[in-house]
Homo-oligomer: 418 residues x 2
């Protein structure tokens, strides 16, 4: 039960740290993050050496080559992390912003001001850059991070967090502003998920299984993202050149990510023109097509789709294709099979776009743009904590604002309620 | 298991209803709510008769007189409910509002637009007016309500919901826009709390026990409010007349509600002047005082406070009093014993107010105003769903905005990601 002592120590010290962090000036936070970036750069060789320890174990455990690739650090990657830290340092401070202010008829002056959430538990898998990113975003938003990374990256995560703590010490601050859970016992995670009132928010990042487990166990609010089953719908009045470009980009630019498109819906009036146009470049891109009967008529090399291919997150160079009767059927398909993540229409007709924008209940609705744009950086947030498929608190790409709450400041002159 | 069939029927029909409600115009929602108000007025006698059925059972069950009072309807109360509906009808539509819009350097136009949450489960206790209020606020925000009221008010709740459904029918709409759970089996609640993905938000209203149970069982996000342990701190530079008025109002104007003050903190420099001033009117108001040693010296009739009196929600005419060394000790007391609901400082010194506003981590921080102002109506929201002591999604008094989410609309011209 030594992990319990470790976690208690973190939890007991995290709350006073949170109260302190809420008072940090924007300038100080900038200075702190720039200092951490410099320390990371200076210690590149050591970080790579620590990372090697993880890689040695990973290889003996037989991790897949893609997992090992994500785990591996080199000078370029460490450099990129330092650069990322400096970019976070430059972002606008999300704390202390007056979201609204007004005066009541009785003279009370009310302000709604952003404040930190407090203590945030991040649960994620192998990539060590997530450690640096999450810790940086929490510091920038004056939140305390409790980081529970994957066991595969433990040595790397320890190394990075030690650099954060080194910098905190340099500024005479408590080490508990950034915390790493160093036990790999899953009971420790379950214990943390029951610490309602001591932890303010849980953000799991990783596979669906991990996230479902967290949601099931947690008594603390969870912000999460299960699946990205994104659609591109090519309407009858689409500019077909745009439609081809968007389909290819949405499917093939990076098939393994959540905002990649999984299903293409095509209005039946343009099938005979559009499908042959898009088939060739899809094939050249190495993409498998699984289509309904009509699709297979126009793309002879396509496979017949099974019912389960619709609403499936391939995360691969596989595209499900279905021909629909009209816009309404496309919207119904998205409602039935989608995950409310990101869905796009390609059309030159304003009315169709209006209906699609209004009726499709997804966190991002695209008109004549690739689903791949659904991303905190592409939206100009300067950071991305994750993409929420919830509707509570934060929805869609979540920037620093997602790590804030607010409070009401009410100023009177001896006001009493009558 | 017949309740399961009833609930399945509601859940299956609620999602299409939600999609439909998202398309309602502001004008239509206004018309609908005004129509319901008129029907309630017209049926006052019948509503009172139905309410009598609840009262008969309540009396045989031996409910407390205050419970019975809260349950009882008369013409004035029904009239007030109709008036409340018309007030909600007049509120600004919270849906379809552009919260932000911007253009990216690549030409993409992005809008962030409010949308309904979808399907909201309300779990609450006896008062039938909560049924009308929650149903009205859900309709106004284009959300589907699933109402699970107390068994004590079942006949009344059935009557009110039937009037909502009558009006929906009048407008040729599905009855599933407003739903009442008519089973009192607690298993039905547990079943609903597991319907993640089919219900979007749970709002429990009632005693702490009810709320803790909901949080423990729910896999759906919950917005809640446990306790209101509110403080008034009288600083050394306070205007003592204001301090007396605020203390009396905060404690005695309505002691049974969550924004009533439970503990008074007094700076030691002004104890000898302030405590005698406030003691007399407190006593006249029938208020018991439980103070520390110093307090008892200046209020001879006060009882000695036990440690457990601090941080206790009396919800009654009882006030805990403690003398503090300085502002910092007051803030520490609030941090240790408070519930982050509402806390007030009385001071004429700007610096002390600044420190208090910044350091006190409560959803509402009052300066020279009674804690009783922490209320959706007093803040000008025109409605109150509840008061959240969470920091996620909504914090503090929660108006219609708390029943909305948003989506991003991204418009391009064939944009693809590079």
């Amino acid at each position: 039960m030594s992990w319990k002592r470790e976690l208690e120590r973190i939890l007991v010290n995290a709350r006073p740290a949170a109260a302190n962090a809420g008072q940090w000036s924007s300038d100080f936070k900038k200075k702190l993050l720039v200092d951490i970036a410099a320390r990371i750069e200076k210690k590149t060789a050591w970080l790579i050496a620590e990372n090697r320890k993880d890689l040695v174990i990973a290889k003996t455990r037989g991790l897949s080559s893609s997992m090992i690739d994500r785990l591996t650090l080199d000078a370029t990657r460490v450099q990129a992390m330092a650069k990322g830290l400096r970019a976070v340092a430059r972002l606008k401070d999300p704390i202390g912003r007056v979201q609204a202010k007004w005066k009541r008829p009785n003279g009370l002056r009310i302000q709604k001001i952003t404040v930190p959430l407090g203590i945030i538990l991040m649960i994620y898998e192998s990539r060590p850059n997530v450690t640096v990113e999450c810790a940086a975003l929490c510091l920038k938003s004056s939140n305390i991070a409790i980081l529970r990374g994957g066991r595969e990256a433990m040595a790397s995560n320890r190394a990075f967090v030690s650099i954060f703590k080194e910098s905190l010490k340099h500024f005479w601050l408590s080490p508990f502003f950034v915390n790493l859970v160093t036990t790999t016992d899953y009971k420790a995670v379950d214990f943390l998920l029951r610490q309602e009132g001591r932890i303010d928010l849980v953000i799991p990042r990783g596979g669906e299984k991990l996230i479902r487990r967290v949601v099931e166990k947690s008594r603390i609010p969870v912000i999460k993202h299960y699946q990205g089953i994104c659609h591109v719908y090519v309407d009858k009045k689409a500019d077909l050149k745009k439609a081809v470009a968007i389909t290819l980009n949405a499917k093939l630019q990076r098939p393994g990510v959540c905002n990649a498109t999984e299903t293409l819906l095509v209005h039946r009036d343009i099938v005979s023109k559009f499908l042959p146009m898009v088939a060739q470049p899809l094939r050249q891109g190495g993409c498998e097509v699984r289509g309904d009967e009509m699709t297979c008529r126009y793309i002879p090399w396509a496979k017949r789709a099974k019912a389960s291919d619709y609403g499936f997150e391939f995360l691969d160079k596989i595209l499900a294709v279905r021909v629909v009767r009209d816009l309404e059927e496309a919207i119904r398909h998205i409602e039935t099979y989608g995950s409310h993540h990101t869905d796009a229409i390609v059309t030159e007709e304003k009315k169709a776009a209006e209906i699609f924008k209004s009726k499709v209940d997804s966190s991002s609705v695209m008109v004549n743009a690739s689903t791949r744009f659904s991303d905190g950086f592409e939206y100009g947030f300067g950071a991305e904590i994750g993409i929420s498929t919830d509707k509570i608190h934060a929805r869609g790409p979540m920037g620093l604002e997602g790590l804030t709450s607010y409070k009401y400041i009410v100023e009177g002159n001896g006001h009493i309620r009558v």
